[in-house]
């Protein structure tokens, strides 16, 4: 579906994507993870055939975006990071008119619009204007809009940012269904649970490069330990506490509000830490998650 080699994107002198290799198979759900400015959206826009490459090669659906842009765009669905809904049209007309841009006939466009409104639960708002929707509703409408042409490949740039937890789950559910029908999904996200839920495979991007690639489980196995101990010390005590237990863990991360110890057996380490006289306000032993992989690879915590 997507074949990128040494893909680069520069804006003037600034290189946002510095040479990445990505390959996405048909039917796969593929994720781009990375901190702000990593180059995720820049990559997504090149794949969407709306941003010319600066270097490297890129093929989408076997076609060259340089020469076959319209043919590629006819077969993909795009949900950009920033909603680009048509503020002059009603909610429903946004879908109808967008379908018309794909050359879909009037009646099909109207039918599709109604189906999709139902799909993202906006039927009640059908005749309202876009500006009267909440942020999350706009997001859902944008997702609906990306489906009007029944795309083979769906590109979602932070699809659930700004959605409430319930709406997020609805979207995940929809995406799972889409995937089951064979749609290839490529998404970017800042939510680790989203990546774990949805992605068969993902890459962590940082500074325009790919820092790691694999399935969520394999990444956790490779870049983290089995368990993580979280010690919440008093304000300003984290640094000192970390030094006293350094030797107990494979790796230690000090965050503003807690110390993370990467270990094989969490309970044992907690006991030993207490024995050394540490007095954390609270302790937590949990399994490693993508969050820890992310922290390890980018040196940044997402919720900090």
């Amino acid at each position: 579906m997507i074949e990128a080699q040494a893909l680069r994107k520069a804006y003037g002198d600034f290189e946002a994507v510095k040479g990445i290799d990505v390959s996405v198979e048909r039917g796969e759900a593929f994720g781009f993870l990375g901190p702000n400015g990593a180059g995720k959206s820049s990559t997504m826009r090149m794949v969407a055939a709306v941003s010319p490459l600066t270097g490297g090669s890129l093929r989408i659906l076997g076609l060259d975006p340089e020469s076959d842009g319209p043919a590629i765009r006819a077969r993909i669905g795009v949900c950009p990071q920033e909603d680009s809904l048509d503020g002059d049209l009603t909610v429903r007309d946004n879908l109808v008119v967008y379908a018309r841009y794909f050359g879909i006939g009037r009646r099909d466009a109207a039918r599709k619009a109604d189906e999709l409104l139902e799909f993202v639960k906006l039927t009640e708002k059908a005749h309202g204007m876009v500006e009267d929707l909440s942020g999350g509703m706009k997001r859902r409408l944008t997702i609906a809009r990306s489906l009007v042409n029944e795309p083979e490949l769906l590109l979602l740039d932070e699809p659930t940012t700004g959605l409430d937890p319930q709406a997020r789950h609805v979207v995940w559910d929809q995406l799972h269904r889409l995937k089951q029908t064979g749609v290839t999904i490529v998404l970017t996200t800042h939510y680790m649970d989203e990546a774990e839920q949805l992605c068969d495979r993902l890459v962590v991007m940082d500074g325009g490069l790919i820092a790691a690639e694999g399935s969520p489980l394999s990444l956790i196995a490779r870049y983290s330990t089995r368990e993580v101990v979280e010690l919440r010390m008093g304000v300003g005590e984290n640094e000192a506490a970390a030094e006293r237990v350094e030797d107990l863990a494979e790796r230690v991360e000090v965050l503003p509000d807690r110390v993370l110890l990467y270990v094989a057996d969490g309970e044992k380490v907690v006991e030993e830490a207490m024995a050394r006289g540490l007095e954390p306000r609270s302790t937590l032993v949990r399994r490693s998650s993508l969050e820890d992989v992310f922290l390890r690879l980018t040196g940044r915590s997402l919720d900090a």
């Binding site: 804006y11 969407a48 709306v50 941003s51 010319p52 842009g69 319209p70 043919a71 765009r73 006819a74 795009v78 950009p80 920033e82 680009s84 809904l85 048509d86 503020g87 002059d88 049209l89 007309d93 008119v97 967008y98 379908a99 018309r100 841009y101 794909f102 050359g103 879909i104 006939g105 099909d108 039918r111 599709k112 189906e115 999709l116 139902e118 799909f119 489906l147 042409n149 029944e150 929809q174 269904r177 889409l178 089951q180 029908t181 064979g182 749609v183």
Partner: protein, 268 residues
């Protein structure tokens, strides 16, 4: 809740979308705001009524460059019609287009579909042309009703208005792609106001000294007024090919430049 057929559906869209859906979009938007559309009819009509009635009483008749004399109102009306076509076309091709391009980000969304930058430009020009021509058509009806037309050639003022609107729309669109802010539109205003006053709108070209005649002759509004006035007064000859070519070239060039520029601005 949705089933998988909802998602995949059964319909596949036709494969060759063009600028037409964009024209449809603009029409749909204005159907929601008919007042904004209708107000454009009024301005030249007021000019015609106030100057045509008031000044005509003082001036009486005007001698055309070919020696014939007509009433002042019949002299003024085709100029108002040409201005109507210009203003109608320019409004959407400049302010309207700028708003859609920079604020509504319409074309960021549109160019994610199979539509190309040139389709965006054609859609805008089509719509602006329709608007300019629609105003002009209404004006022709008014002229006929007031008995201000002296020839059946007047009917050709309609396609002429279409051509004039096309030229102005495309040129306005191309210029607008270089505008950085609303202030920059002052440049367009600064160009239009003197054109409106000096393009043989209110008195014949022969009122000017030679050097000024030369300058006026190359401006688009003069060409437009000349074309429409020749038709409404029945002064039809091969020399009309000059304004016709003028607007055809202006439109084609503007469209080409605008298409390119939309691509440069959006597909970054």
């Amino acid at each position: 809740m949705a089933s998988s057929t909802v998602l995949r559906g059964t319909s596949r869209g036709a494969a060759h979308p063009t600028a037409y859906p964009l024209l449809e979009r603009h029409v749909r938007v204005y159907k929601r705001a008919p007042a904004a559309f209708a107000s454009g009819f009024l301005e030249p009509l007021f000019y015609l009524l106030s100057i045509g009635v008031g000044v005509a009483a003082l001036v009486g008749e005007v001698t055309l460059d070919d020696g014939r004399t007509i009433s002042y109102t019949a002299f003024l009306a085709p100029a108002m019609l040409a201005t109507q076509a210009m203003n109608g076309a320019l409004f959407d091709a400049t302010y309207g287009f700028f708003f859609r391009l920079k604020y509504e980000k319409l074309y960021d969304a549109v160019l994610a579909t199979p539509l190309r930058p040139v389709d965006a430009a054609v859609g805008e020009v089509l719509w602006a042309t329709v608007r300019g021509a629609a105003y002009a058509a209404a004006f022709v009806v008014i002229m006929a009703a007031l008995g201000l037309t002296s020839s059946w050639w007047t009917l050709l003022a309609l396609p002429a208005a279409l051509l004039i609107a096309f030229g102005f729309a495309a040129a306005g669109l191309a210029l607008t792609t270089w505008m950085r802010s609303w202030q920059d539109f002052e440049f367009i205003q600064v160009a239009i106001m003197p054109m409106f006053l000096f393009s043989a709108t209110f008195y014949p070209l022969s009122a000017y000294p030679d050097w000024m005649q030369t300058i006026v002759t190359v401006t688009p509004l003069y060409q437009a007024v000349d074309l429409v006035r020749s038709l409404t007064t029945g002064a039809v000859g091969p020399e009309l090919l000059v304004p016709i070519t003028y607007f055809a070239v202006m439109g084609a060039l503007g469209l080409r430049v605008a298409g390119r520029r939309v691509g440069v601005l959006i597909l970054r």
